[in-house]
């Protein structure tokens, strides 16, 4: 399962990246998609996912749409214009972070 704490700081970036690729998604779908992509390595719990989604919505990065699906109401999340810009920023931040970490883990690799 890996160390879930290491992934915690990147949760918003993961959500934004997924929504950038899928137009609109609902909570459960996001958890399953992450599980599928990481082959079970990363398991996002409801307790972590929904507060993150609500914060991104409050910050204006996500918009919501409520639709009736299979006898119940489903809340879909999608990127706003501001969210699309922020996704690019977050991804570049994450990339730079990974490069920096790589220099600590494998200095020879970074020099090459």
């Amino acid at each position: 399962m890996g160390n879930q704490k290491l992934y915690k700081g990147s949760l918003n970036t993961i959500i934004l990246k997924l929504l950038g690729e899928n137009i609109k998604m609902y909570g459960y779908e996001i958890t399953q998609k992450v599980k599928q992509i990481t082959e079970g390595e990363l398991n996002i719990t409801e307790g972590a996912l929904y507060p993150a989604l609500h914060k991104l919505e409050a910050d204006g990065l996500l918009d919501v749409e409520v639709l009736k699906v299979d006898n119940r109401l489903r809340k879909y999340y999608m990127l706003t214009e501001k969210g699309t810009k922020e996704t690019a920023n977050k991804l570049s931040e994450l990339e730079s972070y990974l490069k920096t970490m790589q220099t600590f883990i494998d200095p020879k690799f970074s020099l090459g």
Partner: protein, 220 residues
């Protein structure tokens, strides 16, 4: 994928409602999450009855779901405060403050001061009262739904009412004595009226937001 029946969904909804997930906007999302998880389990080959699968899921995840509920309520309270603060420093807010200040300053100069205070002193109280009746009417006309942020407005209404009581209250205060403070009383009244206007503006913005986003529930 096998879908849950209306009765199954109602069962999940009632279970969460009885577990203190009282706000419809929060519960709606939780019901969908739990229902989809149960449906996935059934599709993966679990042949047991819905109630057994649901029970097993809740044993594993109930604590997390209820924690999520508390976090959402805290966030709603914070969100209302954030919108009020944003409105306070918005162009609309500053225009209201400007108009209030100018009109009260001139009224204070040219009109009978006691009458002015007697009438305006009640205004914040009336504004908050009207906002609540407005929201109540909005709910009665549709469905008696409970939305987290609208409900959390009451915390701010109580706070404003306490400031109103502290600064200026024509129900209990001796107006003539209050007028001895002159300009300080006037500034207090302007601030209070301004806060009440911002509260009313925020309440209507939130009502509009929920009407727009949750139209599907309201029309059901």
């Amino acid at each position: 994928m096998k879908k849950l029946t209306k009765e199954n969904i109602q069962f999940i909804d009632n279970y969460l409602k009885n577990s203190d997930v009282i706000f419809d906007d929060i519960r709606m999302e939780m019901v969908d999450h739990v229902a989809t998880a149960v449906e996935t389990e059934i599709s993966n080959g679990d042949l047991r009855d819905f109630y057994y699968i649901f029970k097993e899921y809740m044993v594993e995840n109930k604590k997390q779901l209820l924690d999520n509920n508390k976090k959402f309520i805290r966030k709603s309270t914070y969100k209302v405060g954030q919108i009020m603060l944003k409105n306070t420093f918005s162009i609309k807010g500053l225009a209201v403050l400007f108009i209030l200040s100018i009109s009260l300053y001139f009224s204070h100069k040219f009109l009978n001061i006691t009458s002015l205070y007697r009438v305006l002193g009640y205004t914040p109280f009336l504004l908050i009262l009207l906002t609540f009746f407005g929201i109540k009417l909005y709910k009665v006309n549709r469905k008696p739904l409970k939305f987290s942020a609208i409900n959390q407005l009451s915390i701010y209404a109580v706070a404003i009412y306490q400031i109103y009581n502290f600064l200026f209250n024509p129900f209990f205060f001796n107006i003539d004595k209050e007028l001895a403070y002159g300009n300080i009383s006037l500034v207090g009244l302007i601030v209070l009226l301004f806060i009440a206007c911002i509260f009313t503006l925020t309440a209507f913005q939130l009502s509009n937001y929920y009407t727009k986003k949750y139209q599907k529930i309201l029309d059901c």
